[in-house]
Amino acid sequence: MSGETGENPIPDLLHSRRDSVLDRWVELVNEGIRGRITEREVRTELTELYGLVERTLADGDGTAGGELRAALGEISRNRARRGFSPTETAISVFSLKRAVREQFEALGQGGVFAEFGVFSDYVEDLGLETFEAYAAAREQVIADQAEQLLELSTPVVKLWDGILGVPLVGTLDSARTQVVMETMLQMLADTSSQFAVIDITGVAAVDTEVAQHLLKTVMAARLMGAECVISGIRPQIAHTIATLGIEFGDIVTKATLADALAYALEGSGLRVLSRTDA
């Protein structure tokens, strides 16, 4: 490229027309974001990036390069958390190219590059498309795995005819309790089981939220006509529940799974006898 800008036309232009390029860049990014981030925030982000790009290009400053990558990482994480797609995030950076090209054209230095610029944008779009598809596929894999994990961690087992066991292990959150609840209720309906023993021996801690989830599950089972027994209340857990003042109402709770099973057997009209008694 020939012109008064000399050997480094782009860094020179970035420096000499800083305000116009930056303004146009902010404008282009804002169009894509459609108000999901305020213009002020975008401007702050891009001004920082612009400064770093300028420094990196001007003298190949190593530290600036590192800072630039760190800033890009920060912006990407920020966008990901706010639910932006990979393309929308990448476009924020790519827009700089268009802003610079427009400045060259305004200066009458577009030349052969004008046409190449259009082609370059086109290739960029294609690249972004593959990138987007790739990211979507990866996310699908992650979602599938999370779902499988959820299913794996919530088995419902048959302890006896008409008695189901639900051993809970780990941390109980809303999503998991929802799955446990649905699986258990479905199994109750499918097997016509009158009793379900929810064993919380493996649950790390019981707080008001977890207790609330357990109560809801028991109430739902009751509405369907089945009874739930909660077992595996360890001494510390009993202490926590008592201290928090959580009211379990008329729900049957037992210390061990064995006690709960004995209770459920008795409720089903069954008795376990040792051979010598018989």
Partner: protein, 120 residues
């Protein structure tokens, strides 16, 4: 408006709901059930909702009313076959169907009623 048939089965009345419930349908059912209990001298009412997808707060409350009404006329009400999704919704709505007994299916509902009658 569609109507829900009320069938007599031994000492009990059987109501199997196979349609989407509207408020008016349930109200009519409530009235007709009360009359049938008196007419037949039934000792129990079984309401089968295994085909019902949606039970809202009004219908839930009406079941409670039916239960307390029939208890006054010495008949026990059992709601059978509630789907898991329906149970979850009712719990989320904070409804516990006070006074209504429940069973997993018709078979268990019958046994529950028999047992409660034998108990007296």
């Amino acid at each position: 408006m569609e109507r829900v048939p009320i069938l007599k089965l031994g000492r009990f009345l059987l109501v199997s709901i196979q349609i989407d419930l509207e408020d008016r349908t349930v109200l009519t059912l409530q009235e007709e059930l009360a009359e049938e209990i008196v007419r037949t001298g039934a000792r129990g009412v079984i309401i089968d909702i295994s085909a019902v997808d949606i039970v809202d707060s009004f219908i839930g409350r009406t079941f409670s009313t039916i239960a307390s009404m029939s208890r006054l006329m010495d008949a026990t009400t059992v709601v059978v076959g509630m789907r898991p999704a329906v149970a979850i919704t009712l719990v989320e709505l904070g409804l516990s169907l006070d006074g209504v007994r429940t069973a997993l299916d018709l078979d268990q509902g019958m046994r529950l009623l028999e047992a409660s009658l034998d108990g007296r």
